[in-house]
Point group: C2
Chain length 382, copies 2
């Protein structure tokens, strides 16, 4: 066989494989396997795992964000590891251990900068999204957390020890840092509303939340919901609810109560409390189905085998499921027809139809925690 | 060379090509070239066209929707053609001419059904999204239009001659049609709010708009904004503004006024008018930058070379650009950092930075009209 003939044969052999191997990324997702330092790549349409990537370090409190084109995910490990994975080739593209202990990250609205919040040493590091080259270090006098992206190539984060929030603006040639002091004692987590306008930090050291209007000419922190918090009770920090699991449902914001078996309904305009719903246990995530018709809630140990569904018009519980031991996270398909639920101690992800509330599929996974679908690439404040 | 050796060589040759040809779909888009019956496939990150697909028939008033995985687009031509294109292989997958004259379509929230609104014969046809096999025909006593998807595998459309809206529910074994009579005279276009809750139809035959709460147990049409419309003035129908270009900006809805050089600000909760902004010409689209910080407006002939940008907090115009003759459409990147503007008579798409309002790129296109980015696959009511 001549070389030309071999090439001809090759092209005949390669072409069909090539077309078949093409894959769109709009229905893909990444499931964190916390115990094994690995992630599963999943396909929503197929209700299946399509690959596993290993070697990502300590993923015990891991989260991730997606590149603008949905091809890459940036995985933030608890051990300070920042790993860029390619969800199409299902390989690690790059990995840096950029700090001793870190707690989440974000990607700028233009997709060019990846930021990581660090405990040790404190502050935020900024990386080139292409190369993972470190571009900037934004120092802080303590643990950086509650790191969120904001419109206009900005990031916002808070500092546990100093009770500050910092807005870092990368729209110019050099980063510009604005520090807001005295936002409250021991901020521990934060969210940005889905319009990118309001940064809300939860406080461990006092009741109430801190809100910053990022559209204002001169942003200021103001205290909202003065009764939100643990009150006088002692409680361990690991039971604080996740604020990124907040839900905006129509004109309402839904927040998991601290320590109490309740979710709180907040008027999204006045930011005042309008009601409470009694739930099965201490809520961890209260997440709105896209569109906001229902809110799904999961719970802290020992009630963490259960998920409840609340109607946002009546504030009543309309469904309860028991997916299994240690329900850690839930993620909706982008138009809300399915909810995927990670059940850590059953080593599976259970897929629910959000209309019938019946399980319609499941996927084996090693101690799954966070589930992240690629549509997140298109949302603000994640 | 043995066959085995050839295969080995093939795999060595094929692999690199395969990896390079993989492409994520999150930053892709489709630009309608109305005069030539073709579409451009564009890459947002590259600021470039990456392919052209021809043979789509009459695209003079064309729109399209994306499959859930962002791989396919369903193009609705004016001539009744429904064409399924593969944006990765850049080929037509299937094409049916399903009616004599049609005006837009939608895809169900679960991605399984594609619906097309037809003028001749009137009504809506439902197709299998995989195969384009016709599954159902929902008849109407006139021209069907304002077809939108709604949560729960539903579609909503209106009928010009009879002044009805119809809700078609495909969540059960057979479609269930609910007809709302007397919504108003001559509905001509409609929108569904981004939470999937409210269907709003514009009326050509009388002033005001018709609103339906799709979350209600028994949906009813009610009249809102009684002064919205053309009033007593005679005007040709082609100047009616597009309602799908409506903008929800924080607590406000922004609507292009009919015939007047104004946009209207509406309280999103009370649906009452709260203000007006004088603009350059008769607005066609008033579109919110994702997050709602600004609204971009384009205009009808003879003012259609201009785009204005309005601040949603102050209601003041903060920028004006002149992209060129016949600005037909605008599309934002999903987190709002860029706006892509089609300039039909300059045969180009101009890309603006939404912060500086400066052009940062352009792409040659034949008489471009609608620009559609794949992130639409993840939104309700398109």
């Amino acid at each position: 066989m001549t070389r030309l003939a071999a090439l001809f044969l090759c092209s005949a052999l390669a072409m069909p494989a090539l077309a078949d191997d093409l894959r769109a990324t709009g229905d893909l997702g990444v499931v964190v396997e916390r115990a094994t330092g690995s992630v599963l790549i999943v396909d929503q349409s197929e209700h299946a795992a399509i690959g596993r990537i290993e070697g990502l370090g300590d993923l015990s409190h891991a989260s991730l964000v997606f590149s603008s084109d949905e091809r890459f995910a940036y995985v933030f490990g608890r051990d300070g590891g920042l790993t860029k994975i390619d969800i199409l080739t299902q390989k690690i593209v790059n990995r840096v251990v950029q700090a001793g202990n870190s707690i989440g990250g974000a990607i700028s609205d233009d997709g060019k900068l990846v930021a990581v919040a660090n405990y040790e040493p404190g502050g935020v590091k900024i990386f080139d999204a292409d190369t993972l080259a470190e571009l900037y270090h934004i120092p802080a006098e303590g643990k950086a957390l509650g790191l969120e992206d904001a419109p206009g190539r900005r990031f916002v984060f808070s500092v546990w020890e100093t009770g500050e929030s910092k807005i870092v603006d990368f729209s110019g040639a050099e980063p510009k840092v604005t520090t807001l002091e005295n936002i409250g004692a021991e901020p521990y987590d934060a969210l940005v509303t889905d319009d990118g306008r309001t940064y809300i930090a939860g406080l461990f050291g006092e009741d109430g939340l801190s809100a910053i209007d990022l559209w204002a000419e001169v942003p200021e922190a103001k205290k909202i919901l003065p009764h939100y918090g643990r009150g006088q009770e002692e409680m361990p920090v690991y039971k604080m609810p996740h604020l990124e699991g907040w839900a905006k449902a129509g004109d309402q914001i839904v927040l998991p109560a601290v320590h109490h078996h309740e979710v709180l309904w907040i008027d999204s305009r006045s930011l005042e409390e309008t009601g409470r719903t009694q739930v099965h246990g201490q809520p961890v995530f209260a997440m709105a189905r896209p569109g906001g018709r229902h809110v799904w809630v999961n719970f802290a140990h020992p009630d963490n085998d259960t998920v409840q569904v609340i109607d946002t018009m009546s504030h009543e519980i309309i469904g309860e499921m028991v997916p299994g031991p240690a329900v850690l996270h839930m993620e909706f398909t982008s138009r809300g027809t399915e909810a995927w639920v990670s059940v850590r101690d059953a080593n599976k992800v259970v897929i629910y139809d959000t209309t019938s509330l019946q399980p319609i599929g499941e996927i084996a996974a090693e101690s799954p925690s966070g589930i992240f679908f690629t549509a997140r690439a298109h949302r603000l404040g994640l």
